[in-house]
Symmetry: C2
Subunit: 470 residues, 2 copies
């Protein structure tokens, strides 16, 4: 294994950078003053670090070449997509290379017969959604950073988002993948078929491995028929048990039309209403606010949704409900749920979490976590919300006005309790750098050992995104 | 790597068998005359082979112990589930051990809040389906061998079956997995959460790897709400284009309710009607027969299905259609599709195929394949049918009455054409032994090299199911 210390890398780096300039062209390799500020960090708030160069290949082979040169010279290389990750997976390594996919953009093909989109890794999620829509299809992956995040990053982190309950995570949408391996091999597995059991399903290795086993360069993504209508309701309920009963009822009555089931605890709602300039979609105060969304495929599905809501009125599950009568209403409901992105203005700097929990235990977790944060950290504010049908809770916590945020203490409380409730330290965002110290909360030593075996087999020199995940 | 020749293994085998008797108890190790005939082969028609012993551990740890002893003594070990595989993956190796999961049976837990079933690998698929139903859930995996095949085998081969279009393959239903690794480590990843992005998703490695990387001992499977109704129609259409238009129409109108879309070419239908004793569900003769199934979640969904069929009548897509009016009708429609299991009585010995193809190319493939089989093999009969919405075609071919079936020649024609049409040599059944010579049709050398890297990293001694897949 090469010495990946900053000094050792810097010594070898100049040769590698010069070699890459020869191979890829000078315009593909930015160093010194030319390094864009945006490539120095992702959204993880870990702060900037300086790579020796930012390499921006124009094509897949250029990505593979970059990895080969990095391996040959013993230089760390960190893949970068839209840089919207919150776990630090794309944070550059001092003295190493940052490998930006920003020039691998565009949709190469939409195959209407197969229902697939062939797309380059650097393309934004929003561009993928829009291209699918223009071709009469629906691409269901959706997350708040859709305008900036890249498809390659979505695949590398197995992104989840708002509609996992119906369409699954990014993993379920990938049919084929092209990946540059750490030794510079360009592996093409651009399958378009739904079923292909010819040997190991290699793409699964790379999906969700956070750029530590290979760099996604292109993908074949599955497309879906567009929904004919979107129905939504925002409900106020007085207990978590009622929220779970509402979920069971929605599952039974709406079946596979159910596309989102988001729960916001009262503490979240109060901050969201301060952060959002929009009109309150629901008056009165409730212990939990539930956003239910369904996508129809026929006119009769709107009636189905309405009938379900009317039946609900006969049961004491829901204290109040607002029903969307327009796309504008649907957007207004989601604005409350998406207001988390604006919490910085209201709460100041804060820690964000993305944990997995057994669905039944989520409220008990929230209570225990809030209690301990409040008791142990003076003035601590914490708010809870999430995709509860997926067992995925988000938490925002901070001590407003504190000169330095007690981030380590908050981490310790949140993740220790995740372990006590048999949860996962990351449901969506990945491990990256930030959650590495807590890996043992959710993975046993044998799992970690097998991960290391795989990493060692595929990246024996350890030059691809070293120190991330493991 | 140990010498895995028959002689070398037999010399070492006696010690290994005696050690296993000590560790697992004599009742767990059958050798010599005690070896059951059923363990000598699977359904691949490759013929029986004699393992030195059949090991039947009573628990997961016993499975891991068997693998450890096999690795220590350099003895091949072949995992066996329900032995219904058609590719030879579970066929024992002469002089090696057969490792039967038949005593690891039973459902350990159904967690209603999480919507999961924790199940031992040797349990039959049918037992899993029945247990889910008894608990008020639906377990959607379904294939013809449901009464014999085991959940562990379904996972190891990433089984597909009848409802992939709606629920995905076995891979999509696995949330957690316990696997015995080749060195005897028992790896427990019994996750119950829908989302868990904590490091590499290790279970993906073992799903579909045909028992060459580890032996599945237990699993957490995802459960679904039971459908409130099942609707089905059997349609006769006169062109493949009409069948594709019917599929597009069903997708749009039925959306996610669509649970199966099976096409039977006329040649299949004629043999099926001879094989089946049931009344013909559709009179007249058509070029293609299409079985469309949808599962409803509310009473209104039956009306939705009927409305779709009525609208169809206004378009010249369908020449004739029968609509199921009862569960009996639904079963009768499926009987025509399932009649393939009885074709031996009508056609005699034959070759069965399970290929993947681009949906748009399936009919052109069928025509080319039929033409070449008929031209090159005197008297050759071939019939075509499949899950066309999944791009999955089955073929049955033979030369009825021939003293020896021209299996190699049929293989050569079918798989060469798969390559020409950019298809997959296995959509469902896996590679096992039978399709190994054709691996290069559907996988490029870099893919095969990476598969070998993974196999070498996880099974460095090569004692787990050697010679299968790779």
């Amino acid at each position: 294994m090469p010495d990946l210390s900053v000094k050792a890398q810097t010594d070898r780096g100049a040769t590698a950078v010069s070699r890459l300039r020869d191979l890829l062209g000078a315009e593909s390799v930015l160093s010194g003053e030319d390094i864009p500020i945006r490539n120095l960090q992702d959204w993880s708030t870990l702060g900037p670090t300086a790579p020796i160069a930012v390499v921006r290949p124009a094509d897949s082979q250029g990505v593979a070449t970059t990895l080969r040169v990095a391996a040959e010279h013993g230089i760390a290389v960190v893949p970068q997509g839209g840089l919207t990750g919150l776990a630090g997976g794309a944070r550059p390594i001092e003295g190493g290379l940052a490998l930006s996919l920003e020039r691998l953009v565009g949709i190469e093909e939409i195959d209407a017969a197969a229902g697939t989109m062939t797309i380059r890794a650097g393309t934004t999620l929003q561009a993928a959604q829009e291209a699918a829509e223009a071709a009469g299809f629906f691409f269901p992956l959706d997350l708040g950073s859709r305008g900036s995040c890249s498809i390659g990053g979505n695949i590398a982190t197995n992104a989840g988002g708002n509609r996992v309950i119906r369409y699954g995570m990014a993993r379920e949408m990938v049919l084929g993948l092209e990946v540059a391996l750490p030794d510079g091999t360009l592996l093409s597995s651009m399958n378009k078929m739904l079923k292909n059991n010819v040997g190991y399903d290699l793409k699964q290795l790379f999906i969700g491995s956070e750029g530590t086993l290979g760099v996604v360069t292109r993908a074949v993504m599955r497309l879906y028929p567009p929904p004919s209508s979107t129905m939504a309701a925002l409900c106020g309920v007085s207990s978590y048990e009622a929220a779970l009963a509402l979920l069971a009822s929605a599952r039974t009555a709406l079946g596979p039309l159910l596309s989102a089931f988001e729960v916001m605890w009262d503490d979240y709602w109060m901050v969201a209403m301060r952060a959002s300039k929009a009109r309150r979609p629901l008056s009165g105060r409730h212990a939990y606010y539930v956003l239910v969304e369904a996508q129809g495929s026929a006119a009769s599905d709107e009636g189905k949704f309405d009938a379900w809501l009317e039946n609900l009125a006969e049961r004491p599950l829901v204290d109040d409900a607002a029903v969307a009568r327009s796309i504008g209403d649907v957007k207004a409901f989601w604005a409350a749920r998406d207001a988390a992105a604006e919490f910085r203005q209201v709460l100041g700097p804060h820690a964000s979490f993305d944990i997995g929990l057994p669905v039944a235990a989520m409220d008990a977790y929230a209570q225990a976590c809030r209690r301990e944060l409040t008791t142990r950290i003076p003035g601590c504010v914490s708010v809870f919300y999430g995709h509860i049908a997926d067992g995925n809770m988000h938490i925002i916590a901070c001590a407003p006005g504190a000169p330095v945020q007690p981030l380590d203490e908050i981490d310790e409380i949140v993740y220790r309790l995740v372990g006590e409730y048999s949860g996962a330290i990351s449901a969506e965002h990945g491990v990256g750098l930030k959650k590495k110290p807590f890996l043992s909360v959710s993975r046993n030593p044998r799992e970690v050992a097998l991960m290391r075996t795989i990493k060692q087999a595929i990246d024996p020199k350890g030059t691809l995104n070293p120190g991330k995940v493991l």
